[in-house]
């Protein structure tokens, strides 16, 4: 087998050196009762070509060549060619966690650059080397805020991504961390600051908001920060669309910024792997979960990088660790690093401006439901048909429409969330507009199979 680099004669030599004649004898010490006495019920191994075919057939069972208006936490952005060129290098792809600094300066240096760029982007002082994804960064940020303030209650906006809130709920349940939600304003789609003010109390350690929020609306971070800080809570600001930071004022009034970097050259890949980040103000540095890379000197006096502040982590502090996390999404973070390098200071802004232009062109024709200012996503009320019916029509034109919101917001069941990025073509936007306006007829509407 091509992954097992031994010839039969080498295997025999090694077995002899071990004092046995067959490999099975190496397992002789196992109790009979535990052994599997039959072959695994899995088909025999296949060739490389057959593997390619297998996955090609699976891919053919998926949507192929469809234009898509889906956003909702996962965005279609162009992936510069350099990204895969760099991450495909064996030195990055097949290397281990950089615990041995002398032979991992490649990884450590790129992570240090990553941490720096995240700080520059978010306006925070310290960023970690990434969390699993945006959704799990939320409970980690909440737990951090609770640790830092000593106050256990969490308030989270309903306009934070619904699945992120679900994950927060799962973690919170077992931490004795009560979580309550506060709403949004019906007309604008933005945070209901009065509702937040009403629900705030002195037991709250964290207030969590998202900007742009799940509806794509840009939030008033400063106002939310004031309400939180007045009562001694920390403000956690989440983002799911990293490209927005190319144009939007960074949330410097936040104490903790947590978010998802999928937009930075990470394939949508049916939900993962992605990379989350947590970035904080200086004073919370020792509360941050996950790996941190720091700058130092080697014994010859040259600049060198190493993992640092490790005593926060599980492998040392065990049950008192800031988190149980071991992995950081190093390779994914590297994709984001290369993306940020390729676009750079000017490019990220230009990219964001293109996203803004595309979405606002579409909004000009589709009429957003909310009055709030938005970046590249907005909510539309479907006219004369349900969002599901509209999407069925669009599929016939090989267009995947926006996300019907009924599954997450029953009060918005007549509406859908639509996203346009730099990859969205004008012709597809025009087709979406036409289908949305078209009267339902026998040909347009099909009954569900």
């Amino acid at each position: 087998m091509r992954y097992l680099p031994k010839s039969e004669s080498e295997r025999r030599e090694m077995l002899e050196a071990c004092g046995v004649s067959t490999p099975e004898e190496l397992f002789a010490h196992l109790p009979d009762a535990v052994r599997l006495n039959r072959p695994l019920d899995l088909a025999p191994g296949i060739s490389e070509y057959e593997i390619v075919q297998y996955f090609r057939e699976r891919a053919d069972q998926n949507a192929n060549g469809y234009a898509s208006f889906l956003g909702a936490g996962v965005y279609n952005h162009y992936r510069p060619v350099l990204v895969d060129t760099v991450v495909s290098r064996g030195e990055f792809l097949t290397s281990y966690t950089p615990y041995q600094a002398e032979i991992a300066q490649g990884t450590l240096t790129t992570i240090f650059e990553f941490q720096t760029m995240i700080c520059q982007l978010t306006g925070m002082d310290v960023a970690n080397a990434s969390m699993y994804d945006g959704s799990t960064a939320v409970p980690e940020a909440a737990m951090m805020a609770v640790r830092a303030t000593g106050k256990g209650r969490v308030l989270v906006a309903k306009t934070v991504h619904p699945e992120y809130r679900e994950v927060l709920g799962t973690y919170a349940k077992h931490q004795g961390m009560p979580v309550e939600e506060f709403g949004y304003v019906r007309e604008s789609g933005a945070l209901d600051l009065e509702d937040l003010e009403r629900k705030m109390d002195d037991l709250t350690g964290a207030v969590i908001i998202q900007t742009p929020n799940f509806f794509g609306i840009v939030e008033q971070v400063k106002a939310a920060a004031e309400i939180a800080h007045k009562r001694g809570a920390l403000l956690v600001v989440i983002f799911t669309e990293a490209v927005s930071l190319g144009l939007l004022e960074p949330p410097t009034d936040a104490d903790i910024v947590a978010g998802e970097l999928q937009s930075f050259a990470i394939s949508p890949s049916y939900g993962g792997p992605y990379a989350g980040i947590i970035a904080v103000k200086e004073k919370y540095i020792r509360q941050v979960p996950g790996r941190l890379v720091g700058q130092s000197l080697d014994s010859r006096g040259n600049r060198a990088f190493c993992l640092t502040l490790s005593t926060r982590e599980q492998h040392i502090r065990r049950e008192k660790a800031t988190s149980n996390i071991c992995t950081n999404q190093a390779l994914i973070a590297l994709m984001a690093t290369v993306f940020m390098t390729v676009y750079g200071k000017q490019g990220l802004r230009e990219l964001a401006e293109q996203n803004l232009a595309k979405a606002h062109y579409l909004a000009g024709k589709l009429k957003p439901r909310f009055t709030g200012k938005f970046f590249n996503e907005f909510v539309v009320r479907a006219e004369g048909k349900t969002p599901e019916e509209l999407n069925k029509q669009l599929l016939k034109k090989k267009i995947i429409g926006g996300l019907p919101l009924g599954r997450f917001y029953p009060e918005l069941a007549d509406s859908y969330l639509v996203c346009a990025t730099e990859m969205t073509k004008r012709a597809d936007m025009d087709a979406l507009v036409a289908a949305a306006a078209a009267q339902p007829t026998a040909e347009n509407v099909e009954v569900t199979a």
């Binding site: 091509r2 190496l26 196992l30 599997l36 695994l40 019920d41 088909a43 191994g45 490389e48 996955f55 699976r58 949507a63 760099v86 030195e91 792809l93 097949t94 290397s95 281990y96 002398e102 032979i103 790129t110 240090f112 650059e113 941490q115 720096t116 520059q120 960023a127 699993y132 799990t136 991504h161 799962t170 077992h174 004795g176 144009l247 939900g271 792997p273 990379a275 941190l292 700058q295 130092s296 014994s299 060198a304 640092t308 005593t311 599980q314 502090r317 049950e319 660790a321 149980n324 996390i325 992995t327 999404q329 190093a330 290369v338 390098t341 000017q346 990219l351 999407n391 996300l403 004008r426």
Partner: protein
Amino acid sequence: MIEKVTQHLSQNEPLLFERSSPGKKAYQLPELDVPAVDAAEALGAENVRREIEGFPEVSEVEAIRHFTRLSTWNYAIDYGMYPLGSCTMKYNPRINEQVARTEGLAWAHPYQPEALSQGCMEIMWSLEQALAEICGMDAVTLQPAAGAHGELTGILLIRALLEKRGNPRKKILIPDSAHGTNPATAAIAGYAVENIKSSETGGVDLATLEQLVTDDVAALMVTNPNTLGVFENNIARVAEILHRKGAMLYMDGANMNALVGIARPGDFGVDVMHLNLHKTFSTPHGGGGPGAGPVAVKKVLEPFLPTPRLKRSGKKLAFDYKRKHSIGRVKAFYGNFGVLVRALAYALAHGGPGLKNATMDAVLNAIYIRKALEPYFDLPYTSPSMHEVVFSDDRQAKLGVRTGEIAKRLIDYGFHPYTVSFPMIVHGALMIEPTETESKDEIDVFINAMISIAKEIETDPQMVKGAPYNTRTSKVDEVTAARKPVLRWKP
């Protein structure tokens, strides 16, 4: 004497920000096919940022050289063996990288209609089936993003079941030989941790266990084979003791590379376990992640698995969100799908018989190394090894050299160090796991290197203590890095 490495021209390279120059570009966006929009008008002037201060500005050529030069400062599996115990650093098959990038898979949006996602769902279904068969379990969730995440999921499942039975209980028992994620996970799941001392042979002591398992104990978290690389021969009895007292057996699957095709945790009494796809199933470490930590369970825990679950009706697959007893979500969407693709590709390449052969080669390699190094390094636990072997530095410590220093000298010989100082039950541990994808040649060079170092320690311990000498970067001052942390570049 040092066979594997010699000197090589190593390019210098500053940080991106030190390379930057205003106006340099590595990108070009197409012209807009819609009118441009004034950002201040669309977003509100107060919401528009001025510029991203300090962000890099380099050309494409400089970008590619930057990352290429940096990459050459790394060791990697593609260069040679990582004898890291407990990490299973096996070859990352390149075909896995290619298939993960298949367009219809890489660009699939998690919210696209299920009818147009059947290919992704088939992949997940097939992997679930394969893992259930390999582990001897009834159901699998692919949602957790990493091993520690899988551990948390597993413990939450136990809590949910026990809660349904009337009492979630208060404590989790964890052997003192366990990986740090185990107690950290238990704490996050809201349980107190009680350490259980390992027996003289490094396993679970049955008498101690019998005593410690009270009505307050929810579960024992065990790794099998344990972190000494030794199979827990009493595992069936361990399970029996726990089950008799209404507690559950969780298995950390980090060492599955010793068991695939040979023994199945579900068959020896494990109720729930996680797998590390980035260990046993060859998905690349990529410098620290991503991974994936699927959790496999017995039927009794199935109702509590994270939502949604795949269900099949005839040819069609769908996600079931109506799961009353589920613990909820542990991650948005469905799991690290891109990692799952790679793991399935690995399993398809080996097939059933192949996976067992891989396990046998993994164990053969470890025992071969053990036999060769036994005359030179102390073996604190003499039970039969499986896929990894743990020595201690006792002999060398008498001459003033500790495991961490031996590890650094190994770098001069062209290898990444083995796992240092873990597990905690061995003083000065050297934990070595070659995996099945190492050739006899590579292993012999490794053995010769270790023997050479053992001899160096006898004649010139001071020299060994000062290693490494041959690396581009010498020993990094971790003390100052921790005392005065500098975690970002500043102009």
